[in-house]
Symmetry: C2
Subunit: 257 residues, 2 copies
């Protein structure tokens, strides 16, 4: 897409994200309706649904012919990355949203013929909006972000997934031992934003498309790498183990997993 068109879309989407945040904050003053999806640890609330509806309606106005893949299923059935594809997670870290009222994110990723184009991660309670893409760079609340230092695994904190760490999947305990220590926040959006900010040198978890679509755009724009555990490109329409890391940390982690 032409850069001026991307820029207009980015401006409009940041306004959409800020409006969505205000609506979510307002709804948090009321009692949440919480339902279990696949287990007692996999929750959805009325706010996930209403925010997904809002984001989809706003994206349809901005980009009427696009395909939209959304976590709670009210978007389109997307089977190809051809053309314009938006990938939406209205509330990432719903467990935190329900039980902490903190540490959750809303995320949107935009791809054009499979190319990462725009991404948004909004840490709602910290009021930190990470936005942008390869043509524009990444901003945090409108201020340009620099790429984080290319620190190695031994020199940084590692964003872990609790189940993978406890079960020692992918040798995650050895990865942690080689790092300065693990951190677990319970939200892919929050932990990926910490990699963007240089607070973590990597994040590794089993992720679904809406968990990493926004983060991939932002991370790659900042010179970070986003791959599967054999170092291959990620498939935006599949779920699996995804590593977001500095270049150096990625090499060290791939040698361990």
């Amino acid at each position: 897409m032409q850069t001026n068109v991307v820029k207009q879309l980015n401006d409009a989407m940041q306004t959409v994200m800020r409006t969505a945040r205000e609506q979510v904050l307002a709804k948090m003053g009321n009692k949440l309706t919480v339902a279990e999806k696949t287990s007692r640890r996999d929750l959805v609330t009325n706010v996930d649904h209403s925010n997904e509806d809002f984001l989809i309606s706003q994206i349809r106005q901005l980009d009427p012919t696009a395909h939209i893949l959304a976590e709670e299923g009210t978007g389109d059935r997307v089977t190809s990355m051809a053309g314009h594809v938006w990938i939406v997670d209205p509330i990432d870290g719903t467990m935190n949203f329900v039980h902490q009222r903190n540490h959750f994110a809303m995320m949107v990723g935009f791809y054009v013929d499979g190319e990462p184009t725009l991404g948004y991660i909004y840490d709602v309670m910290a009021n930190k909006l990470y936005a942008g893409g390869p043509q524009l760079g990444v901003t945090l609340n409108g201020e340009p972000m620099k790429s984080p230092a290319d620190a190695d695994l031994a020199d940084g904190l590692f964003g872990a997934s609790a189940p993978l760490l406890i079960q020692d999947r992918f040798n995650m305990q050895a990865v942690v031992a080689a790092s300065l220590g693990p951190r677990i926040m319970g939200s892919a959006g929050i932990q990926i934003s910490q990699v963007l900010a240089g607070e973590l040198i990597a994040y590794l978890s089993y992720l679904r498309p809406w968990d990493f679509a926004a983060g991939r755009v932002l991370a790659e724009t900042l010179g970070l790498v986003v791959t599967t555990l054999d170092g291959s490109p990620v498939d935006m329409l599949s779920s699996g183990a995804v590593l977001i890391a500095t270049k150096r940390a990625q090499r060290s982690i791939l040698a361990i997993v």
Copy 2:
């Protein structure tokens, strides 16, 4: 102590903590001097030292004959909780301070003849100051806090210690399995403040006196319990496994560990 004296001390100490925060933020703009204490994961910086010096000097002005136990060793050698004892952690979560510039706390606890009297946990980057004690209640940035709901282990997120979780010490993996999931922040101060705020139903870690002295005052004031793993009262001059939890979660956890 008389309540009006405690109230005056509390007002003065909140001003001290806010001044300390300003100084720490200013020093974060300069390059940190980092040294390893016992290992590459046990750090101390010039800011830990300067902030400890500042806090001790301010406490000495407010309470000249008190004994002060401080993490970095520039206080007194304290062997008894008789009289006035202040326990100071100038930067809790030094690893986060160095590598995240986020998620660290300053903490001060004040005990009179062993009785919890005043406590301060300051989440520096979030600018959240938890302050108070049994005679005054607990405030967050000056606003009175309510006690968190007495939720059980099965209904809340569990604040874990990374080494204890990975090594499965004290059956921590079974505790986690009974909860809604673990969270690991790498700072006792931050995680205890999350228990105060109801974001976690419990926090269990191997702690030193300055890690839990402030948190014990605040937690007990809010109706939470602070014990060893056999349910005994904690010894303020010893290190060991300490559990800070809601009453219900404490019973469930003690039955597992």
